[in-house]
């Protein structure tokens, strides 16, 4: 009996030691989510500038209102188009794969499939907040130095993320998180067949809503690296987002002050 206890205690100590040596990938990913995403309902503005062969080809401004679902932990978002003028006040509602587009001129609420893109290179899922730890299973693939968005070498954990939910924009992600503070540094997004779709750099860290957060994402197309989108975030604010806002029938009603 004493021998069995001794073995159990030894196994416990050994497993604790192993846990200490290998970082918990899911915990690091969750910590990185908390850096990108405020913990309470909020609003922010997103400016997208798109380049082809170093020439600006498009520009959009959006306001995003987000709130996490109490059950799933995943964010639901209402996106209001601000500019250009032709798209002003159009809306998009994203609740997982439930995507709706609303045009106030025609009063038409149109359901979109995840493959339909409204914003050029950026997938609809790129412009809204996502808690990756809720949708992906993470593993530490390596600990290595990479060039960050400011072209500085940074010691990172490279996480391999595999989708556990069908309601995701990307099937597989490689993500580099700063080993010292879990800040997202860089990510690569892949199709189911393993083709590189996009590379993203997270940069311009600034204090926003109490935490140093990346206020810019640079997205580089996987097939055409000369296709680049710069997404800038600003006007962060805590913002109550009532549950009734997050449904199709509220879209014609949505008019925040």
């Amino acid at each position: 009996m004493k021998f069995k206890r001794l073995i159990a205690a030894t196994l416990l100590i050994a497993s604790a030691g192993a846990a200490g040596a290998a970082p918990n990938a899911q915990a690091i990913l969750a910590a990185s989510d908390a850096i990108r995403n405020p913990g309470k309902p909020f609003a922010l503005s997103v400016t997208l500038v798109e380049y082809r062969n170093a020439k600006q080809t498009d520009g959009n401004t959006l306001t995003v209102y987000s709130k996490a679902d109490a059950n799933s932990g995943q964010f639901r978002s209402l996106i209001r188009f601000v500019a250009p003028a032709r798209d002003a006040n159009k809306l998009m509602l994203k609740n997982g794969n439930d995507l709706w587009f609303f045009d106030p001129s025609s009063k038409a609420s149109i359901r979109l499939s995840p493959q339909q893109r409204l914003l050029g290179q950026a997938a609809n899922g790129d412009v809204v907040t996502v808690n990756l730890a809720k949708d992906y299973q993470a593993q530490v693939a390596a600990e290595e130095s990479v060039l960050d968005g400011d072209r500085q070498n940074r010691r990172c954990y490279k996480l391999a993320l595999a989708a556990v939910s069908a309601d995701v924009t990307y099937h597989r992600i490689e993500m580099w998180l700063d080993a010292s503070n879990s800040r997202p540094v860089k990510a690569r997004f892949y199709t189911e067949s393993g083709q590189l779709l996009k590379t993203a750099y997270y940069r311009r860290y600034q204090p926003q809503l109490g935490v140093e957060r990346p206020t810019e994402t640079v997205i580089i197309d996987g097939l055409d690296p000369n296709w680049v989108t710069v997404m800038r975030y600003g006007n962060y604010a805590w913002r109550e987002v009532p549950e009734v806002w997050l449904q199709r029938d509220y879209l014609p009603r949505f008019k925040p002050e």
Binding site: V82, S106, Y201, V218, P225, V230, R253, K255, E257
Partner: protein, 415 residues
């Protein structure tokens, strides 16, 4: 040798990626953004020139149009919102007696949101239902709403129309809502006067509608409607959408109730009231390069079947014209079975070029309406070239339209 090339390629690939990433980051460094402010106004001016060729003789007619379209939507006090939408079309056409200038007062209403989950609206409101693209059986307030048709694109027909004067209340809860509206009788006759609000077109009789939406699961959120009014039996409606896969949305729209056939209504013939259904069912598939293709089947149980349609076409011209005019005014289909195809390709081949194609096919007489638009847009300016071809036998659904071919060039400026 081949192995050496492959090795070299493998060795240089990461370096190339790093260079490309560095170039992209340099571009981002140089990016300056100005925070655009949201506006309560959306205003654009549009000018168009067109050439049309009549069926048969093929004589070319020319026309021009200047339009101004304004939409204002402002929260002027906590919980209070004012909405105003108006369009003025100045038309000059060869061969048309008198030049029709038309103002369309699309919407003008006040909205009071006493609580986040309860809202009351009063005024002229474009109350639109329906998840289908080409034919909306549950869009009960479409009858008489078209005052000026500037394009046959369904999106334009939905946008450029009259709302109905009504009182509307809505209660919302997590995942659902209940809407009730009442639209009174306010006038007897439609008006051609340029600046008439034309309440006679939309409020010739009292009407009401109830709408209930309830989320049944993460994937299913049906909308039920019940609509009625003076001189009609209540009609039940259903709107349903589902995600077939990551690239495909399926939709189903149905309306049914006791009603006279369109022929009996149009020709004032003896009542033939029976339970009649209308439906639209379709799929929208989006390709990886963002081309959205929609195919839609349309059924109108109140329209004429093939035998009835053929008989009407062979019969007195006055009855035929009366039926077509009545059906067009209520935006319905004259025949039972129709097919609708719609394709949109955003950024087609070059950035900012959108191509839209539409085909309407009448299964009763095999006539077709084909419409194609190429639209290029800058930040504030759109240019579009549209063409339309109506084909079919004489007296067929689309073959009887006055124009066989229409070309239209449009220039739009957003202020």
């Amino acid at each position: 040798m081949r192995a050496l090339v492959l090795l070299l390629a493998a060795a240089t690939a990461p370096a190339l990626a790093v260079d490309e990433d560095a170039a992209a980051l340099l571009l981002a460094d140089k990016t300056s953004t100005t925070a655009e402010q949201s506006s309560d106004w959306r205003v654009y001016a549009e000018t168009a020139v067109r050439e049309s060729r009549r069926q048969g003789a093929g004589i070319a007619l020319h026309g021009a149009r200047v339009s101004i379209d304004a939409r204002f939507d402002k929260t002027f006090a906590p919980g209070w919102r004012a909405v105003f939408a108006d369009r003025l079309d100045l038309n000059r056409m060869d061969g048309v007696p008198g030049n029709r200038d038309i103002n369309t007062l699309k919407e003008a209403y006040l909205s009071w949101q006493a609580e986040p989950d309860s809202i009351v609206d009063l005024g002229r409101i474009n109350a639109r239902n329906g998840v289908a693209f080409g034919y909306n059986p549950t869009d009960y307030f479409r009858a008489g709403a078209l005052r000026s048709v500037v394009s046959l694109d369904p999106a334009s027909l939905r946008e450029n129309r009259l709302g109905s004067a009504m009182l509307r209340g809505q209660a919302l809860w997590n995942g659902g809502s209940l809407t009730a509206l009442y639209s009174p009788r306010l006038a007897d006759q439609s008006s051609d006067s340029v600046f008439s609000p034309d309440l006679g077109a939309t409020n010739q009789r009292a009407r009401w509608q109830l709408g209930l939406s309830e989320k049944l699961s993460a994937a299913l959120s049906p909308q039920w409607l019940l609509s009625g009014g003076a001189g009609q039996s209540p009609q039940l409606g259903l709107n349903l959408t589902a995600l077939a896969n990551a690239a495909t949305v399926a939709y189903f729209e149905w309306s049914g109730g006791r009603a006279a056939s369109l022929a009996a209504q149009a020709l004032k013939s003896p009542g033939d009231a029976a339970f009649r259904s209308r439906l639209s069912a379709g799929l929208t598939y989006t390709t990886p390069n963002n081309v959205s293709l929609t195919v839609e089947y349309q059924y109108n149980g109140a329209g004429l079947d093939q035998a009835g349609w053929n008989a009407l076409r062979r019969g007195p011209a006055a009855a035929y014209a009366q039926y077509r005019g009545f059906v067009a005014n209520i935006q319905d289909s004259p025949t039972r079975h129709n097919v609708f195809l719609y394709a949109v390709w955003q950024d087609a081949l070059v950035k900012h070029l959108d191509l839209t194609a539409m085909v309407r096919y009448d299964a009763a007489d095999h006539s077709r309406l084909q419409w194609l638009e190429a639209r290029y847009h800058w930040t504030r300016v759109d240019i579009a070239l549209q063409t339309q071809l109506n084909t079919g036998q004489s007296g067929s659904n689309y073959g009887a339209l006055p124009d066989r071919r229409v070309w239209q060039a449009v220039l739009r400026y957003f202020f």
